[in-house]
Amino acid sequence: MSIKTNELTHIYNPGTPFEKLALNGITLNIPKGKVTAIIGQTGSGKSTFVQHLNALLVPTSGSVDIENYHIQPGTKIKDIKELRKKVGLVFQFPEYQLFEETIEKDIAFGPKNFGTSEEEAVALAKKVLPIVGLDDRYLQRSPFDLSGGQKRRVAIAGILVLEPNILVLDEPTAGLDPQGAQEMMTLFMDLNKKQGKTVLLVSHDMEHVKDYCDHVIVFDQGKVKIESSVKEFFQHPEWMENIGINPPAIIRLKKMLNEKGFCIPDDVLEMDTLVKIVKEQVKTYE
């Protein structure tokens, strides 16, 4: 198991009038080398959860085990700083973390913080840039001259350069056009398939979850409401309705057809099978 939490609970501002229970006894096992989707509405606790994975937050009670690190109440960041290298956290709109004069320097910033020498950090930056689809010519350019999509790639390179085993992505495709979003997802899938990285994807986009993920974890009001395989998850449209998720188009279509007297089994998730079934049912009386 690559990530394990035990009765993880987090309370913001404990003992003040602003006290808020954000996570309530989360016990989870997230498998290694897989792509796991984390979904839930705004305020469901998913972003609080994600921040525990590289100890940006420390549990109020319970614990988190990642790789060889154990995080529990009172754990000090400086004792487990290396964890932040092992777990790469890409925040929403990561392009807002760029600040250096050149792309090379910006990407090299992370490794230097973890004690890598200047030369080595620069070499790492050179190595990582092509992975996000930008070539050497960009190294000496200012990150602020790039387009929005390119900036995001540079920001992601700034995390990948730390060579994390686990990649946590918070809405990585927000604000991109469909093609840009697809390219971004392909990049993460390559990292998963070719380099065996464990990927956690926080997303509202159910098409992405359906097409790219292996597992689904649904957060609701600080608790884990559903934990299942993707295939299983999309066979239960009622689960999605209960948590305010917009199901993928194919599932919405199935539901509409079933309401009009068609009979489409729940396990149909691919277009070609749906075409076959619809064809049979339309032509029944011929």
């Binding site: 509405q41 705004t42 387009s147 929005g148 999509g149 927000a174 604000g175 991109l176 056009d177 469909p178 093609q179 840009g180 509202h204 159910m206 305010g244 998720i245 917009n246 993928p248 188009a249 194919i250 919405r252 279509l253 509409m256 057809l257 009009k260 007297g261 068609f262 277009m271 070609d272 749906l274 075409v275 619809v278 064809k279 049912q281 339309v282 032509k283 029944t284 009386y285 011929e286």
Partner: protein, 275 residues
């Protein structure tokens, strides 16, 4: 008289590269038009030009029959509202009521009429119970609804949505899309929506596709979607319903394509009953 009539419009941010390279199009009054195109195709620039936030290098923009220039920009803004992408950066007031009031204050609406207008506009977007709420207490979708209320308050004839749902969660998206639909059904406003959402495009009446600062194509959604290869080249996709419909056509079930889920379902039901 058209809602928008743009002729040979050229615009440049930096004097060297033209972002808009000679665009002409007409948007009829009362219509629901979507503008699509890849990132950087000039979509949002067009929106800012239409409301006079940017000044064209050459060419003309006519809004409701009035030529847009320095002397008419303020009177044109009495008739055109725009909802931007980022919900936070267009919330000006410190409460919902204050924010809706902002536009009214600018348009010199007498103070004693404001409260009624504010309540009416807030009710239209289901935000009547939040009049005293501060923006930090609202979700993205709620903030965008307030933005719409602020625009409805000045009774515009044209409303532009500039990727208004792209930063929202699915629920927020849904509530804004429903709002747009509702506005269109009333038929008294022209809706121009800049979007990436192909399902929304399928529901509109007219589509303008931009590519590198030029109009690549325009027409009814079906006409646009028919040119699948051209769309793909422009990094644009077709909606799922149409993909499905095309498969059914290939199988000989459909004789014409549908681009909305509703359309697909209806056509299938008819086939089922016929047989």
């Amino acid at each position: 008289m058209d809602a928008v009539n743009i002729k040979d419009l050229v615009f440049s941010y930096d004097e060297q590269h033209d972002t808009i390279k000679g665009i002409s199009f007409v948007i009829p009054k009362g219509s629901y038009t979507t503008i699509i195109g890849h990132n950087g195709s000039g979509k949002s620039t067009i929106a800012k030009l239409m409301i006079g936030l940017l000044e064209a290098k050459s060419g003309t923009i006519e809004i409701l029959g009035q030529k847009l220039d320095e002397s008419t920009v303020y009177s044109i803004r009495d008739h055109v509202g725009i909802v931007f992408q980022n919900p936070d950066n267009q919330f000006i007031g410190s409460t919902v009521a204050d924010d809706i009031a902002f536009g009214l204050e600018n348009h010199c609406v007498p103070q004693e009429k404001m409260q009624a207008i504010i309540e009416e506009s807030a009710a239209k977007v289901n935000m009547i119970n939040y009049l005293d709420s501060e923006p930090t207490k609202l979700s993205g979708g709620q903030k965008q609804r307030v933005a719409i209320a602020g625009i409805l308050a000045i009774e515009p004839e044209i409303i532009i949505f500039d990727e208004s749902t792209s930063m929202l969660d699915p629920q927020g998206k849904k509530s804004i899309n429903e709002q747009i639909k509702k506005l269109h059904e009333k038929k008294n406003v022209t809706i121009i929506s800049i979007t990436h959402d192909m399902e929304e495009v399928a529901q509109s009446e007219h589509v303008i596709v931009l590519k590198d600062g030029k109009v690549a194509m325009s027409g009814k959604p079906m006409e646009i979607f028919d040119k699948e290869e051209a769309l793909h080249e422009m990094k644009l996709d077709i909606p799922f319903a149409l993909k499905f419909s095309k498969e059914l056509k290939k199988e000989g079930i459909f004789d014409k394509n549908e681009c909305t889920l509703e359309g697909v379902v209806e056509a299938l039901c008819q086939l089922k009953q016929m047989n």
